[in-house]
Every structure is written in structure tokens, then in C-alpha cells.
Amino acid sequence: MSRIFQLEKYNKEFLLGLLEEMVLMRRFEEKAGQMYGLQKIGGFCHLYIGQEAVATGSIAAVDLTKDYVLTTYRDHGHALSCGMDPGVLMAELYGKVTGCSKGKGGSMHLFDKEKHMYGGHGIVGSHIPLAVGIALKIKYKEEDGVVLCYFGDGAIHQGAFHESLNMAKVWNLPVVFICENNQYGMGTNFERVSSVHDFYIMGDSYGIPGKQVDGMNVLEVYEETLEAAKRARDKGIPSFLEVKTYRYKGHSMSDPGRYRTREELDEYRNQDPITLLRDAMVEHNLITEDEYKAIDQQAKIESNRAVEFAENSEEPDLAALYEDILV
């Protein structure tokens, strides 16, 4: 698949910011996978490698002083895009008290109320109505915000998804539904369990504009989110973006990914979202190979620091078991 990157319309700092963010995600996730292998992290750990352009491009299009983000259990990338500290995130993966959820949420439940990162949710599709509720609050309080709600292709068939689209349209709420179609709901290819194979048309069922977006092209994700967010903000029209992407790793750490071929994986590695942006920037003389290496090195350093912070942090006190059950 060939892609045209029209970089002329963007300033260099913006493009560098996207690139740095995606590289940090990649290195952070690789480190998380490594630490999982060393049994420093337990339970479910869903890596975002391959999907970096989706969170990076879309969250770059909103203003988190007034806008909101909700996502699934595959939430490390979104948390980083929301500006959460890699050390605090890694500490949460470690279950340490310095983690964003004090070690009681883990990989799947990253939250930062201040930064408008509203989770980190573990039940497929169950957070989509929450996003509509936050959008309801925005309208109720006559604010200017937009909610970005992410979910996977697996959530498409949950009732909560359809109920949410309907209510968002009936009440004209400022929410952008973003399906990160990474093509596998756990180990099942979406085409095997879906009556339609282009999900974006489902927006039509609810009178909501739907669009298919190239999730390997961070700038396309950015532009489409910008447009959908503007429509939500200015006119109260919800949108549904189906962002086609791919995860290189298994569903979670316990998944060797035997349901797909080497060839398929290679095909997607050849359209890696980081490589595509980097190559386009090199071609446009916006970055040199050495400068890219420096970015990559910096991402590795930050990921190592995150591990160091998590390693040196304390376990929660046993008394924390009984804290934060009720206000």
C-alpha cells in the first residue's frame, strides 16, 4: 500500500512531536513486554505495538484541558498520548503504590483525572456508554469539549456499542467513537464473526457520519479526528471512525498469535506507522537518520527510567486493600 504524506502543511515541531510520541510508545511497550517476561508484571498485559498512530494522531487533534479520552484495556498508548508520565504508568503495571491508580488498577486500568484520561476499561464495549455520559455532561454544562472513545473490533458486536451510538445521536452529543480495527478480537479474525466487513457503515444505522481511516498513517488519523471533533464541538454531531490498524504482538502476553501467518505480519511491518512517518520526514529533509536515532535513544532512556522508577517504588501498604471502596 502506498501512501502520500503531504508534510508541507505541518510545522516541523508538530511532526517531530508525533514521531517522538510514537517511538516512545514503541519502546515503552517493548520494555513492558520484556519486564513481563521477567515476571515483574503479571496478569493481562495488552501491548499497543503497531497501533501507535491511532492514539498519537487522534489525541493530537484534541485539547485535553476540555476534551476527554476513554479507552479499553489496551490503554498504555493512549495514556502516554494524554501526557501521563511513563514512570507512573510502568509503576502501575508493576502494581506499585506510585502508579497512577496506586497499584490497584494495573495495566488495564490506567486513569488520570487531571489529564482527562478517564480509563482504562476491562470489559469489552462496557465503557462506550460512559463516554456518552461524559458527552452528556459537556452538553448539560454547556461546555466546549469533545469525548474520544476508543474500542476494538471485538466491541463492535456488543449491545453497548449500538445502544451508545443511538443515544449519542438522539441527544446530539459531542463524542467521537473510534474503532481501532486491529483485525483480531483476541484470536478471531473479525471477518469470521462479523456480518459486515466495513464497520464504518454501521454509523449509517444511527444517522452518524462514519468513515474508514488508514490507521498506519498518523496524519490521516489526525486530520479525520480533527474534522470529527470539530463537527462534534460545533454542531453536536457524533461521528464514528473505523481506523484500520494492526497489532504486531498477541492479544495479550499469553497469546503466541498462531492464528495469523508470518507473511501477514511482514506485510504490516512493511507499513509500520513509525517507519512511514520517519521515511517521509527524511524525504522532506525534516529529519536526518542521526536525528531519528537520537529520538529513538531518548525513548529508550525514558523507558529505562520508567522501569527504574517502578523498580524503586514501594508496594502498596496492606491497609490499601480496604481503601477507596467508598468515598
Binding site: G99, S126, P129, L130, E163, M167
Partner: protein, 325 residues
């Protein structure tokens, strides 16, 4: 003191709290234009408009989740389930989102929300529309569960519920909506976790809550005629539970019957029965007796459905059993 219905007491509580706090709003099926399936919300749409009294599609999981999201973001929703039978469609939202959000976010997100509506058996409605589901909610840490039986308690507890920063499950009853009682005009609140002695007595403690209160009061009147003075403890609040009042009463009467219209297994009755057996063991002159809903789905036939529920006769017999008469 004015006498009003349970329905009016619930309505007045919502009305007063909506007037007091702009962040309070009501949502659910038929709550606005139709004035409520059971007319609880009658007049509120006229008064507050569509922004604050919101008709939803028939989509319990969806609108329950919308309420929880709005609560995460700072509003104070009152979510009406037309009946608790339909709350089963929304259980994932209540258990996985409302009850756990504070805990799994490390204390960042409180969920100030009230889920309310009629619970418990009604009449001629058969298995899917006539059931007492409180045991499911009482089981869950992170929720508070209240079940008032009188208009006075309903109003005072609902106002407290709407002001509470936690998710509250508020159990009303279809057959209780027309019950009448004294309710003062001036504002009052009833704190959670306080049981109420609805009748004082020295011979036996009858612990109950919600609709079976009336059955227990009738049973106590019948027992009085044969010289038995029953004390009735109305729990009102199931989580938190007022263990102190329960134990004080049982330690005084030395005998305990628990009346609960829910199914017996893993129920409020079985839990309180265990607590009493453990904490009042040395005071008990007889094993604790339970009178619960029969362990069957609710039948349509009236004779059968009455047989499936706690009755005056069943309560009187249980009291006689713990008194060995």
C-alpha cells in the same frame, strides 16, 4: 403532619434535590413526557424540562452506563429503572463500572449516582416481572443499598442517597407506592446504616425491611392477641447494615426471626442470620428462623404467588417456633 403516599414521598425527595442542586437530573424510560411508568416522576418534566428529566430509549445497559459516565464527570444522576427486573440488563454497568471505578482508579473517580425503581414481587406478573433482586446488589462492595418501607423513610433516605458521593441502589416497591404515612413538611434527612425499631417488644425480635414490614406488623398484632410482644427491627439500609441495633434487640428478646421476600440462598436474611448466630450466640434461646420468598420462580396464579411469599401465617408460625409454642 401531612399524610402522603410512598410515591409522593419519592417524588418530593427528587423534586427537592433537583431544586437544591442543578447537577441532579433524572433519567430513565418514560420518566418525562409519560410522567413515569408508576407516576413517581409526575410533574417533574413540566417543572424542569427535557434537559433535567430525560426520557431514554429502552436500553438499560446503555442509559445506566450513560448515567455512570455523567457521574464520573461530575453530575449527580438519578437513574430510574422502570422495575428492577430490567436492572439485570444493566448489571455489568453497575457492578463493573459504578461499584469499582473509585477502587480501580486509585481513588480518583467517585460515582455519585442513584439507581432506583420498584423491586420485589407485585401481583399477577409471573416470573420475569415479579422478583426481589436485592441480594445481587447487596453482594457488591462499592455499592450502598437501601430499602425503605414507609413514605417517611423513603423521602429521608432518598434525599441522603442523592447527596451521597457513592453509587446507591435504592429499592422501592410497586405495591408500596400507594402506601400512606406521615411525612413532615420541613426538610429532614435519614442517615444510612441506621435501622429503625418499628415496634417495641420483649419476647421476640423480627428483623425485616421493605415490603414485608407490613406482613410483620400484622403478624405482631396477631401475636399480641395471644400475649406475645414482638419487636420489629426495620433495617432500612442493607449496606451499610446497622448491626448494633440488631444485636441490642436480639440480646434483649433472646429470639430472632428474619423476614425477607428475596430467595433464601445467599440473601440478606441468610447473612443477618449468620451475624446474629455468631454475635448473639450466648443470648439466643432458640436457633434463628428465616421466613423468605420460596426458592422458586414467581408463578402467575394468584394462590400460588401468595404461597411463594412471606405471609402473616408464616411469620406467626416462625415466631411460635423460636418460642417453642
Amino acid at each position: 403532619m401531612p399524610i402522603i403516599t410512598y410515591r409522593e414521598a419519592v417524588r418530593d425527595a427528587i423534586d427537592e434535590e433537583m431544586a437544591r442542586d442543578d447537577n441532579v437530573f433524572l433519567m430513565g424510560e418514560e420518566v418525562a413526557e409519560y410522567d413515569g411508568a408508576y407516576k413517581v416522576s409526575q410533574g417533574l418534566w413540566d417543572k424542569y424540562g427535557s434537559k433535567r428529566v430525560i426520557d431514554t430509549p429502552i436500553t438499560e445497559e446503555g442509559f445506566t452506563g450513560v448515567g455512570i459516565g455523567a457521574a464520573m464527570a461530575g453530575l449527580r444522576p438519578v437513574v430510574e429503572w422502570m422495575t428492577f427486573n430490567f436492572s439485570l440488563m444493566a448489571l455489568d454497568q453497575v457492578i463493573n463500572n459504578a461499584a469499582k471505578m473509585l477502587y480501580m482508579s486509585g481513588g480518583q473517580f467517585k460515582i455519585p449516582i442513584v439507581f432506583r425503581g420498584p423491586n420485589g414481587p407485585a401481583e399477577y406478573l409471573a416470573a420475569q416481572h415479579s422478583q426481589a433482586l436485592q441480594s445481587l446488589f447487596v453482594h457488591i462492595p462499592g455499592l450502598k443499598v437501601v430499602a425503605p418501607a414507609t413514605p417517611y423513610d423513603a423521602k429521608g433516605l432518598l434525599k441522603t442517597a442523592i447527596r451521597d458521593d457513592n453509587p446507591i441502589v435504592f429499592l422501592e416497591g410497586e405495591l408500596m407506592y400507594s402506601w400512606k404515612g406521615e411525612v413532615p413538611q420541613e426538610e429532614y434527612l435519614i442517615p444510612f446504616g441506621k435501622a429503625d425499631i418499628k415496634r417495641e417488644g420483649s419476647d421476640v425480635t423480627i428483623i425485616t425491611y421493605s415490603k414485608p414490614l407490613k406482613v410483620c406488623q400484622e403478624a405482631a398484632a396477631e401475636l399480641e392477641r395471644i400475649g406475645i410482644e414482638a419487636e420489629i427491627v426495620d433495617l432500612r439500609s442493607l449496606r451499610p447494615l446497622d448491626e448494633k441495633t440488631i444485636y441490642e434487640s436480639v440480646r434483649k428478646t433472646n429470639r430472632c426471626v428474619i423476614v425477607d421476600e428475596a430467595w433464601p440462598m445467599a440473601s440478606v436474611a441468610s447473612h443477618v442470620g449468620w451475624l446474629v448466630s455468631r454475635n448473639c450466640f450466648d443470648y439466643l434461646d432458640a436457633p434463628v428462623e428465616l421466613v423468605t420468598g420460596e426458592d422458586v420462580p414467581m408463578p402467575y396464579n394468584h394462590r400460588l404467588e401468595l404461597a411463594a411469599q412471606p405471609s402473616v401465617k408464616k411469620v406467626v408460625n416462625a415466631v411460635k417456633k423460636v418460642l417453642y409454642i
